[in-house]
């Protein structure tokens, strides 16, 4: 990712949040977020201008996406509001196939004239590139849906909640952290509403209203005498929900080991910030880990990132085929392994599913960005690799004739391409609690929350940290650990999975700004799992003296 093309929104400890400047759009007032956008009849009429223009210029396929993207972000530190950002971005993206080649152009001039010009540009690009095209585009058939709509099933629209209420909530969380021994705290709320209209020459007119939310913080404790500082990040997950995620419902809380509080579909930010401050202080004196082999018990808000990197990305078909070779890389999960029908990705209890319909998830939509109705499908069943993630123009390369419905563009201004759906580990079929994961471990580590993460360009070798680490000795948690990271190989790791908690422990982790492509685009995706055990994983000590 090229740093100068990204803007830094706010420093949240070591992992400063960066996002593309184009995503931000024009600043508006909170009131303007509530204004209705363009009416649906006008959208249909203007989309038809694009489709008809494309046809008249010889295109064999065209789609138009009219998008209105509304964002509200609130940033605070300690007792100060750093920034409240409200933005709107509105425009149309037109994609065509002419002479067997894709062409794309976009404009924020959403008028008949503006749309005609952009469509002409898209067709011209397609025709120019067709001269060096060696693989004409072949689209899998898609159902014509007519006029349909879909909405994220939210209970509270963030746009209806006053900014002051959001600011007060973050400042209460900050105060809770400071009152419990934190030296610094940064907190933020990200709220997104995508209002997307899609039309294509296949006869679909799809109107969708999509909501996402992410509350997060970083709490830092410092021991100046010892020259040490430690940060504890929030245990929240970004969700495909409305502001009701902030309700902190008792019914959605789970007890973790050692007094940890874990959250399912409702988040208590003040409670989490209170505990975060106490844990950040505890980290300052935590025991440094002895490197070696450990049985790892991984909590869903931690395991989700491992699933994202070691299952989600390597099973993207465009990566497997080499389209991402110059940036993120290719994949170890090559077509021959899939064709063999017996490639053991994981142990027999490992079932990994892709799902664009899961309620509350970041990836849930009714239809993808090329008008395909979303669905759920297997990637790994009983440990065996069974499928990839593919869209209309590539699914024929794995001898399938139906797109998986996981095409996405970050805005009207960007061309859509294959993006990761929610990829989740199914809960275990036997009734196991978190304690059942720990009680027969002789030498192990319980890891909760996301930390440092790194994986190679074919997704073999990875290293993950976490938010908090607890040592397990003879079936009991005996204290906090520091300097922990585990290194493994994807296939070896998933084959070392020996036990998975049942559905009572199932929760989602999420990534709000997953990057892919050149120019890079972000997308949001969830990964569900239950607490799981992996035996004999290599743990290194990351402490160094400088």
């Amino acid at each position: 990712m090229k740093r100068r093309k990204f803007v830094q929104l706010s420093g949240l400890g070591a992992g400063a949040l960066m996002m593309p400047s184009l995503m931000i759009g024009n600043n508006i007032s909170a009131d303007q977020l509530m204004m209705p956008g363009m009416d649906i009849l006008t959208k249909r009429k203007l989309s038809d201008v694009a489709l008809n223009t494309a046809r008249s210029l010889g295109s064999t396929y065209a789609d138009a996406r009219i998008g209105r993207y509304l964002n509200q972000y609130v940033f605070t530190r300690e007792d100060k509001v750093q920034n409240v950002v409200n933005t709107e971005s509105f425009g149309i993206g037109i994609r065509v196939i002419a002479d067997g080649t894709w062409g794309f152009a976009s404009t924020n001039s959403v008028t008949e004239d503006g749309i005609k010009k952009a469509t002409q540009q898209a067709v011209a690009i397609a025709k120019a590139n067709s001269k060096i095209q060696k693989e004409p585009v072949k689209l899998a058939p898609v159902e014509s849906h007519g006029e349909v709509s879909w909405k994220t099933p939210i209970k509270k629209d963030f746009k209806d909640v006053p900014v002051s209420e959001k600011v007060d909530l973050l400042l209460s969380a900050n105060a809770a952290a400071m009152n419990n021994g934190a030296n610094f705290v940064n907190s933020a709320l990200f709220m997104v509403n995508e209002q997307k209209y899609f039309a294509s020459t296949e006869g679909s007119y799809i109107d969708q209203d999509i909501h996402r939310i992410w509350p997060t913080f970083g709490v830092t404790a410092i021991d100046r005498g010892a020259g040490k500082f430690k940060s504890r990040q929030a245990m929240s997950a970004p969700m495909g929900m409305g502001y009701e995620y902030m309700d902190g419902l008792e019914s959605e809380k789970l007890e973790g080991p050692s007094g940890l509080r874990l959250y399912r579909n409702s988040y208590d930010i003040v409670e989490d910030a209170t505990l975060a401050a106490k844990q950040a202080k505890e980290m300052l004196t935590a025991k440094s880990v002895q490197p070696g082999k450990y049985d790892l018990v991984l909590e869903p808000n931690h395991l989700g990132l491992t699933i994202h990197e070691s299952v989600g990305h390597p099973l993207e078909l465009d990566r497997v085929l080499g389209y991402e070779a110059n940036y993120a890389g290719t994949s170890f999960a090559t077509l021959d392994k899939w064709k063999s029908g017996d490639f053991k990705y994981g142990s027999d209890i490992v079932n990994l599913v892709a799902d664009k319909t899961q309620p509350g998830s970041l990836g849930a939509v009714g239809y993808d960005d090329e008008g395909v109705k979303t669905k759920k499908w297997d990637l790994v069943r009983n440990g065996v690799l069974t499928n990839y993630q593919a869209i209309r123009d590539q699914v024929h390369m794995i001898n399938q004739n139906e797109s998986h419905g996981c095409c996405y563009a970050q805005s009207w201004n960007d061309v859509q391409f294959q993006r990761m759906p929610n990829v989740s580990l199914e809960p275990g079929k036997e009734k196991y609690s978190i304690n059942d994961m720990i009680k027969d471990v002789e030498k192990g580590i319980y890891i909760a929350g996301r930390g440092s993460y790194s994986i190679d360009q074919q997704r073999y070798n990875f290293q993950f940290g976490g938010t908090v680490f607890y040592e397990i000795k003879d079936g009991e948690i005996v204290g906090m650990l520091d300097d922990v990271a585990y290194q493994s190989n994807t296939q070896e790791f998933w084959n070392s999975c020996t036990k998975i908690c049942d559905e009572n422990d199932y929760r989602m982790f999420g990534s709000f700004f997953d990057g892919k492509g050149q120019p890079s685009q972000v997308s949001a995706v969830s990964h569900g799992s239950s607490t799981s055990r992996f035996n004999g994983v290599n743990v290194i000590n990351t402490g160094r003296s400088v």
Binding site: S231, D456, Q457
Partner: protein, 437 residues
Amino acid sequence: MAIYTKEEAKQIMERALSFSTADACVINMGGSESGNIRYARNTVSTSGHRSNQTLAVEASFGKKSGTATIDEFDDESLKSVVQRAEELAKLSPENPEFMPPLGPQTYDESVSFVEATANIQPEFRAEVAAKSINPASKQDVTAAGFLDDSYGFSAMMNSNGLFAYNKSTNVDFTVTMRTNDGTGSGWVTRDYNDVNKFNPEEAAKVAIDKAVMSKEARAIEPGKYTVILEPAASVDLLRNMSGAFNARTADEGRSFMSKDDGTKMGEKIVDERVNVWSDPLHPDVPTSTWNGEGMPLKKMKWIENGVVKNLAYSRYWADQKGVDPVPFPSNFIMQGGDATRDELIKSTKRGILITRLWYIRSVDPQTLLYTGLTRDGTFYIENGKIRYPVKNFRFNESPIIMLNNLEALGEQVRINGNLIPYMKVRDFTFTSLSDAV
């Protein structure tokens, strides 16, 4: 066309300022035209053109500020954007860190704009792609690459009389070459303000040669090795280190630069041969001569003979500490030596040559420990010669430890807008092997 001349920008911003009724008003204006082509599997995959222009108004009443932006510059639009910023300011909470706008400043004339780059056409991009794809096809190699060129301006004006303007151009190119048997991979990156300096054939050849040379790599034990880091391999670790030169986090006790109740300013942190500075007028890596706060950017030393010479202070933090603001660097220039890459290899008894490091993530901000992997060309050196390609390694290393273990410095090369030398470093820490090609 999204590019405005200095005079045009000045007139538009003056008009916007004339509508302001706030205590203070800052206008930022920018525009860019950029084009790109992406290819993979020896064929073009996508290409596009983007045009963006925007004007942002930050209005302030006391310590309350609001920002509004617009992409149309007629009088009515300018008036409404100023009004919107003022309405937002009145509704905003007070920002205790608010700083009144700077007064007039004197800036050096920047050299970051080159006409030839601004004039790049789509045909040129297709030719660059062909200059990768054609030689690749002839050698049983597959090319995947990306070329992105841009031409842009930025300008700033405020109610205290400040006016700044800059124009710049840039071209960025990367290509990955993979052998068709899947066992070899090479890569190259090139970036310039002036496209005339770009030789796409030469760049493609470097990547193809590395792909062919790296076929059928052997596994050797991870551990501590002497390494020769090509500039593309060290640049990200060095830029991450420069992020620690922030006076505020150092003063707050949450940075590598924190020490007892103060900072490591004036302390020797790395080998005495390490000298690092930034210079917006350097002809090989020119940048704008002012920053987002309107502060003039000048040549500034950060590390001299291994000693920390400066930490960066925002205007707010400088005011709190009673010192002059020190703008963050706009580029990173590290002094090199005369040795070529081949000479560094020749003087190495046993070591590893590294093309690039990939997926670098922070592991411990306290020690600036990072992890990541080698990629696209890693070779074993013995008795002054490259002996054979080796499998990729995962590393866990801190740039501070790396620069303390410096053995030799080689020639400087421009990488991502920075000037970085080839480096030979002992005891670089590899913690595991990767099967990735």
